[in-house]
Symmetry: none
Subunit: 225 residues, 4 copies
DNA sequence: AATGAATGAGTCTTCATTCAT
DNA sequence: GATGAATGAAGACTCATTCAT
């Protein structure tokens, strides 16, 4: 009786994902242009030739990395907002914050660094990112803020909603980028991203007139999510 | 007969600066690894060989670009704070905002993109940046916030001052980076950075309990919406 | 119950020949160096690995193609001459011409192109070709011409018999080569090889003092003009 | 006083031709696909990089070799025919024969081998060859034969002129190709191309009813041209 | 000081060949 | 026998750097 699934076959199915993981690591570490395809292959545990069995060129690998790693993240955010039934404040504190904390913690956070570095060299990738990531991402957050305004929770009368969304979002994206650039250098630094994300959201809520959360333990609970 | 200070002489003295300007442009556009020294030389109007008369290698050129373009910016910020005698709120609205708006508008804003992309590949550059740019930059802003707290203008009881500074600063850095990556791609986008910077500062001030500016600023804020 | 001679078995026996056919096609089309073993295998309807079950290397495949495809052709020519009992003129018109027309029409004509291209890279193949194809080929034709001279049909007093044979043979070989190089390109061209072969033989006969064919052949010649 | 023309500069001007010569040699020897750019560069006495300063790719080098080496040859033939005032027979014996003998002897003869091998892989090159070499070449010969027919020297009533031209031309082209394939292999062979070319032309003339040249020494004189 | 021709190490990519299934 | 995933050596091409002029 032969084993149910031969390792060779299982390998073949897993390869594309393994290669994407390896490529993400190397591209984030070195930058796309400075990354060697050898390194990607080696980190995935295969030879250089194997890489080309799955992706026809280094550039195609880049595109695959970016699209594969981001599609899911945005959809997760949209689901959170669609499913929520409570207050906008709770949505921010109990769902947006953990979502971002997990995004920051995951390797996918590196994609922002790649995007920023390579957008001008690969216009198609930039198009994809603008259309499939940035736009839906902004829409989700705009919806959250709008819910808060409509319910009277948030007071943003004086400010542009779009700019509020940027004030809310950009620091998180910047934190993701920082994690993989200066944050990865051996420089002493006391920066706790989960806390920062939580407090930043709190700061924006405060700016919209939302009073601080009732008790102290609450934030700690969120941090563990 | 006074020497006419031949244009050639003037040219020669200006060379290093012209080369730095060209290098900044090309590095920001293509990324350091993908940038060709040919392009830098050509954009500076000299031959490739001439470049090497002034900078011994591409990497040295990178270091020179980063150090030369940022030193002044930080010092400007420090001077603003040191010289200021009025309220912290006014400091934010009347000095920090214009400073950042000018930084955003200047080519120096591109250095953030280069830094983010190359920090891990050039640890010495990262060290310089952390020591000479990030740390002083944070100090200056921390000082401003502290002035506001000490004078009773700002209420940041629940939040870490460091995190408040990050909430204040990161969106601006992110905007600078965006300007030179996706913002430079031919994608339709309605984003007015000077307005955003002003409103973002206002948002942070509001989060610290500072009431909106009396009369003049408000219409401007609305007008930009 | 008689065994039905499973198609698989028949297939297996035919494999080597099918592979040679496919290899000939691909080598003639692309040239040996530019031909990919993948293409050969695919055109033969097998996997790349199977190719190596039958031929130990690409070079061995080349050798097999050349030897297999030419051995028969020469032998056919020799048999024609040996078996013939009539005049040398009739031998040329009624047997050599059809033989060459068939050779031109068959895929084997492509071997000349391969040989010409690869002789210097594969001296052993060149040796085989010189010994097994060119020499016997020349011998057969020399014999035909000699028969004509001996019988008084042909007058070649001033010319070397060897050169006469070359004058007779080279255009046909060249036509075969042309068929698979420029003749295969989408270039408008009005060239009818069977007519040319017939007329070329007639030209050489005329140069040896043989009068044009009496009645039947002439109209055919004119018709093709 | 510096030397009038620096060797560096003189070198630069000569490089393209030196590279073409080297490329022709290597392409003819190995075939285009099997030829290594390193070999071409080395044979021209430069480094691989230098090759790419003058020709942007291996394919462009191929095109340049073919066009550069053949343009002149055809023009030479046309000039011969245009300038001639004597009999068509003398044109053939005294001008076409030496022209072909020189072509055979020159490195340019190798271009036929390259063309035959690469026509299908490089349609543009095939187009150029068909338009700029084959067509004018045929035209020139057709003109010669037509002159002979019109003046009553040649009797080709029964044969197609086009086919007569092919009978005349193809053996010479085939001889050129042979020189660089099997003829270049270490195979004993007694083949004297200049004699063959002379006798082949004589054979074709004879087929058109032209009597042999008056005296024996004449051919020898032609051979020395 | 300035030039730009030349270099050659380095990288992406291909493909003949192998071998576990 | 048959397959096709995997390999890695080889080759086209790039580009930072040098140096003769």
């Amino acid at each position: 009786v032969p084993p149910v699934s031969a390792p060779r076959q299982r390998r073949k199915d897993a390869r594309p994902q393994e290669l994407l993981d390896a490529a993400l690591e190397v591209f984030v570490e070195k930058g796309f242009a400075a990354a060697r395809t050898d390194d990607v292959a080696q980190r995935a545990g295969v030879s250089k030739g194997t890489l080309y069995l799955y992706y026809p060129s280094k550039t195609d690998l880049l595109k695959a990395v970016i699209t594969a790693k981001l599609r899911g993240e945005i959809e997760r955010g949209r689901q959170i907002v669609l499913a929520h039934r409570g207050s906008a404040t709770s949505l921010m504190r109990d769902f947006v914050a953990p979502w971002w904390q997990q995004l920051y913690a995951s390797p996918a956070s590196g994609v922002f660094k790649i995007m920023v570095a390579e957008a001008r060299n690969f216009p198609e990738v930039a198009d994809f990112y603008a259309r499939e990531v940035m736009q839906p991402g902004e829409e989700v957050l705009t919806q959250v803020v709008q819910i808060g305004i409509d319910s009277g929770e948030f007071a943003v009368a004086l400010a542009d909603v779009k700019h509020t969304v940027y004030s809310l979002l950009l620091p998180v994206v910047m934190a993701c980028i920082h994690k993989h650039s200066l944050g990865a250098c051996p420089i002493e630094e006391c920066f706790d991203p989960p806390s920062f994300i939580r407090e930043h959201i709190e700061l924006v809520l405060r700016s919209m007139g939302v009073p601080p959360a009732a008790s102290a333990p609450a934030p700690q609970t969120l941090a563990s999510a």
